[in-house]
Assembly symmetry: C2
Homo-oligomer: 431 residues x 2
């Protein structure tokens, strides 16, 4: 008999502190390497440890019932798991939940097996969870779109007329998505000052972060076959945190009329642990009221926003610890993931296993809940004051940006861990 793996009263035989992102109610999937020479393994985070799923499958196949065709493919990449049906993901999570329970002696009382299949998170290097074939970035926070619109076009024309009728999005660059921990090199590019006649070339002077959440597609759809809102969630494996790095000065000069390109495609960072949609299920809440009512293909039943608390932390090279510079919540997003997926595929566009659909910058309604430096420092007019006396309007070399996110349950958190990266100086080259 299988318990509900989301049951708040469940406990693991591994100690998990109440503020850990990874209690037994979460069980996120990731890919890690024990050392430089070992193969990537698939793991599930539990407290400060990782259950090595690849190893467990080999050492004790009776605990995880994989379909036969997967037995030999449980390495390197989550794509093989993502590409199958949600029923199957659910079963794996349930089996692991069962195995890690406080009252199940099977693994708990087998020290040899524990040593082989459990490893400390701090001892391994996390890798990209899967190959990401395509990356789409939405623009689904009304507050963010409004803020940027005000800065660009003034208060009266802040939101474009289409914005309230469809989840605006564009294609990002899949090749430059990197996992948390990868340093980010300040990019060069072409920019033009407002009062200059000609553009100039050099490192960006307005490097920014964007706080987003990202949906990883599991089950693909065929080219020509739209996914209705009612079925959209069945195509989602889980979510990660996303930092969509942006060079605002490059963006400003290049983006008309075809949208952002080099201002974004130098790097996008994601968190390594994929929190399944199943684990997020208890945290579904109603989204903002949508007025005007969307066209029928964008309407959906039930609550599809997620109550995920999000934070951005900044640590400059001179600081000894990071400081929180923003706190917001994913529930502010106007367009939900079912609407994003239905819109994305309404013309027949095919989503592929591992595709990343990011939310767009998530800003809340207050000045301390904004998801980018552009907004926090309001285009440079309102510098961020740091506790050591430094100020920031955009990121400086040596700055480290860390984003975290979690859903607060009664006595436990279903968390994402973090996505973190440090800004490196631009490379020098002789142009």
């Amino acid at each position: 008999m299988i318990d509900n793996p989301n049951d708040p009263s469940l406990r693991s035989f591994i100690d998990v502190s109440p503020d850990s992102p990874f209690p037994i109610q979460n069980l996120p999937f990731g890919v890690f390497r024990r050392d430089k020479n070992s193969y990537p393994h698939i793991g599930i985070a539990i407290g400060d440890e990782i259950l090595d799923v690849s190893e467990l499958t080999e050492a004790a196949p009776q605990f995880l019932k994989w379909p036969a065709f997967l037995q030999l493919n449980l390495w390197h990449d989550l794509s093989n798991i993502l590409g199958i049906t949600p029923t199957f993901w659910r079963e794996i999570r349930q089996q692991v939940s069962q195995l890690l329970r406080y009252d199940n002696p099977a693994l708990r009382d087998n020290p040899k097996l524990r040593q082989r299949v459990l490893t400390r998170r701090s001892d391994v290097r996390m890798l990209m969870p899967c190959h990401i074939p395509n990356y789409t970035d939405f623009y689904s926070s009304r507050e963010h779109a409004t803020n940027v619109g005000i800065m660009l076009r003034g208060k009266d024309n802040a939101l474009m007329p289409n914005w309230v009728h469809l989840p605006v999005a564009y294609h990002g660059r899949a090749s430059s998505i990197v996992v948390s921990g990868t340093d980010i090199r300040r990019p060069h590019g072409q920019t033009k000052a407002d009062d200059a006649d000609l553009p100039t070339f050099g490192p960006t002077k307005s490097l920014d972060f964007e706080l987003e959440i990202g949906t990883l597609i599991g089950t693909p759809n065929d080219l020509g076959t739209p996914i209705p809102t009612s079925q959209a969630a069945e195509h989602v494996f889980g979510m990660v945190l996303v930092n969509d790095w942006s060079a605002r000065d490059i963006q400003k000069w290049e983006y008309q009329p075809l949208g952002p390109f080099l201002a974004k495609n130098f790097a996008t960072s994601i968190s390594p642990w994929v929190v399944t949609l199943d684990a997020l299920e208890p945290f579904r809440v109603a989204g903002p009221k949508q007025d005007p009512e969307p066209l029928p293909y964008l309407r959906c039943e039930g609550n599809w926003s997620y109550d995920i608390q999000l934070e951005v932390w900044l640590q400059t090279a001179k600081m000894t610890e990071p400081v929180r510079i923003s706190a917001t919540n994913a529930k502010h997003l106007y367009w939900n993931i079912c609407q994003q997926i239905a819109h994305h595929t309404i013309n027949g566009c095919n989503l592929q296993t591992g595709d990343l659909l990011a939310s767009g910058t998530i800003s809340g309604p207050t000045p301390d809940s904004l998801g980018s430096m552009l907004e926090l420092a309001w285009k440079g007019t309102r510098p961020i004051q740091l506790p050591n006396g430094e100020t920031r309007v955009f990121l400086q070399d040596g700055d480290r940006v860390t984003m975290t996110g979690y859903c607060q349950g009664p006595g436990y958190r279903v968390g994402f861990g973090e996505v973190t990266a440090r800004v490196l100086p631009a490379v020098e080259f002789g142009n």
Copy 2:
């Protein structure tokens, strides 16, 4: 001793008519399947035949000296060939050129081997030449950008200020790129008429083609490592024809402020034969004069435009043969491929083996040389008159669009073959 495979006097022992796209001076690479149940093979087109490279490697390995690590990977996909160095591509093409020469008896006089490794092009099905990890669409035709600008913003603001300073581009959708011969389903989407208060939903009423050429990346670059213009060509394997299908009414409503999305990502068609940059070498010509002079990172030495004659043919369901509706030339493109690649990577963005970089719609200076229906029929105001009395402002269901391209040498053509597709009616669904 190796002859120059571009020598105009070279002849193959296989008969090739002077207007064939595939003489011995071309030798483009493609992937094909002999029948439904056979594996994809790599081939090189010669006249009406295909030299089956995968089969040849097995049957007579002495004729093609592959690096050892490739011996077992010559199937399914060109990526394995594309990902190695240009020196190597050149050697393969030279070896095949040698083997197909009029005066080389090795294959010519071996009927058993000929039967095994040569097959008629009309007997096989062409597949995608390789996996395309990322798709970038440029906007490099000044005539096209100006025409669209005039229609959208009037004559005085036709070209955006950035256009003459950088090769504008955006990320397209890689997953929905299909090979020539794949029918295209009319997409649904959200549109808003100029005089309407609210958007409506339905099949696009302004389905269009876009005539482009596409560059396939061979050798990748690392994230963080720009490719200078002087080295760009060494990263290019070859070129294909591209039809970047567009739904103009969807585009008009959705594209502000982040660029085209659903108006484009339902399908992009490419021609199946990849013409190597080496085969195009004799057809390099000077491009349009660039004024203002580009920034140093965009300057390049030598001629990097290509004299490729391009044609668009239309056949409606009622016509018995196609009619040419446009003829233009790739040499009109303002930004060349070296500049496109240098710009794309100047911020450190990593190009991957198989990436497609398309030129953007190629329009010439005259009304009969425009590369889209939007321009040919000038936003519907100047319907295209067809010989059977039909007219078109945009594509109708049942219309077949075929694009061809070739470089004219003395007595031979280095051609691309064609990219062709038929428009199918929109699927019906109950929304």
